[in-house]
Amino acid sequence: MKKFLTMFMVVSSLTFGISIPAFAADGHINVPVASVAKQFVSYKTRTIGSSKQERRFVKYLTSSWVYAEKYTWSESQSSSLSFSGSLTLDMQKAAKLQLGLTNSKTYTFAVATQIPADSSRRSRLAFDCEFNCQDIEVDEIITSKILNFTISQKVNSTSASTYYEPTENSYLYVKYN
């Protein structure tokens, strides 16, 4: 296969004037980016270790710290999928699709109840969610198409991240200062 590809590249270079790629030590073919006909970037997501559930703060539902005896709340809230680390938006999009992650969840507060609070302390009404947390790595892969041949190449950069996927469990609570 290597021999065939090398011959193909040599013929191509003579015929179409593109430069000859070299085989890298790890077996991948290093194709000069500017000299190929078509090029695509794709991503491959890998999970690292096992996932776990974690309760995380989402937002405050009241605007300031006050000495309140009770709160009432009845507006819907939502929580979104998020990533830590330095994944690009395209990488996040790919990870979401490949792992089938839920983008966001909406939580409705249809029942009107009075929420007691300790009036001797300053407090705010807050909202937490239970998230599925998973460490992932995303490989960037460049696929080059030269005539009828396709060559895929893993770019050295692999980005590590943790995703936080909202689950259906959520908590309404009073947070004290």
Partner: protein, 268 residues
């Protein structure tokens, strides 16, 4: 010919509109059946104290709701009238679904004497002299003797008021005293669920917090409706105290049409 067609069409529209208006008027005057959520609940409290309990119910939004402030003379919790006095009540309107209005009957309860009471019905006495009993699930009220004044623990940051479903009771407290505290027990006595006792006392250093999830022992439906107001027994040195945190609602967050239908079927 065209005039005749128009007259027929016009007459049909008038008749249909009249039938619809008549139907709506009849519906508005029809009294809706009341469906209270069937909670499994445990409420621990010291005697001579007061706490507000919320009973959530569903009524057909196209029909008349008889539970209105002006119609109600008195409310009692059946078989616990001597221990649990309802000193005040209010009706709070929640959201509407396609068919139902979600409402809350909020009861301010005085816990009069030390006792353990099992309650399954709320009795509503109306101003016209009638009385109706509504099934509200299974509630255990555990009224204890007045504790020695402690004020050593406060509600912690992770203590929820409301949670989507039940997968153990979250307890979160802060030690606000100047001493180390030992948690000796966290009592939750739900009607159909047993909880594991603490293996040993848990120490909370002064100024520290303690967060735990008290896990049920055995099977249970995490999507049922629960209300839990636990009792925490702790000691400082040789002296024992009791702390009664707020109650936690499980199941009320994110109520779906299916969950409402399922709940309504229990009291049909």
């Amino acid at each position: 010919m065209r005039n005749k067609k128009s007259t027929i069409l016009y007459s049909t529209l008038v008749i249909l509109s009249s039938i619809l208006i008549f139907y709506l008027l009849i519906s508005r005057n029809t009294i809706s059946k009341i469906h209270f959520i069937q909670f499994e609940s445990y409420v621990a409290a010291p005697e001579k104290s007061q706490y507000t309990i919320d009973l959530v119910y569903f009524v057909n939004k196209f029909q008349k709701d008889i539970i209105e402030d002006k119609n109600i003379d008195k409310i009692e919790l059946k078989n616990a009238e001597d221990v649990l006095n309802i000193s005040n009540f209010s009706i709070i309107k929640g959201e509407n679904t396609n068919k139902y209005s979600i409402k809350t009957l909020s009861l301010e309860i005085d816990f009069l004497f030390t006792s353990i009471k099992k309650v399954q019905y709320v009795n509503i006495y109306f101003t016209d002299g009638t009385k109706e009993s509504f099934k509200i699930g299974q509630w255990i009220f555990d009224i204890n003797s007045i504790p020695i004044e402690g004020n050593h623990l406060s509600i912690g940051d992770k203590y929820p008021f409301m949670s989507k479903f039940f997968d153990g009771c979250i307890v979160s407290v802060n030690n606000t005293s100047q001493s180390d505290i030992f948690i000796k027990s966290i009592n939750i006595d739900l009607p159909n669920i047993k909880f594991l006792d603490l293996d040993k006392s848990i120490e909370i250093k002064k100024g520290s917090s303690f967060n735990t999830r008290v896990i049920p022992d055995g099977t249970y439906n995490k999507y049922n409706f629960y209300f839990i107001k636990p009792k925490i027994v702790y000691s400082i040195g040789e002296v024992e105290y009791t702390f009664y945190p707020y109650g936690i609602h499980y199941g009320l967050l994110n109520l779906t049409e299916d969950a409402i239908k399922n709940e309504i079927n229990k009291t049909k």
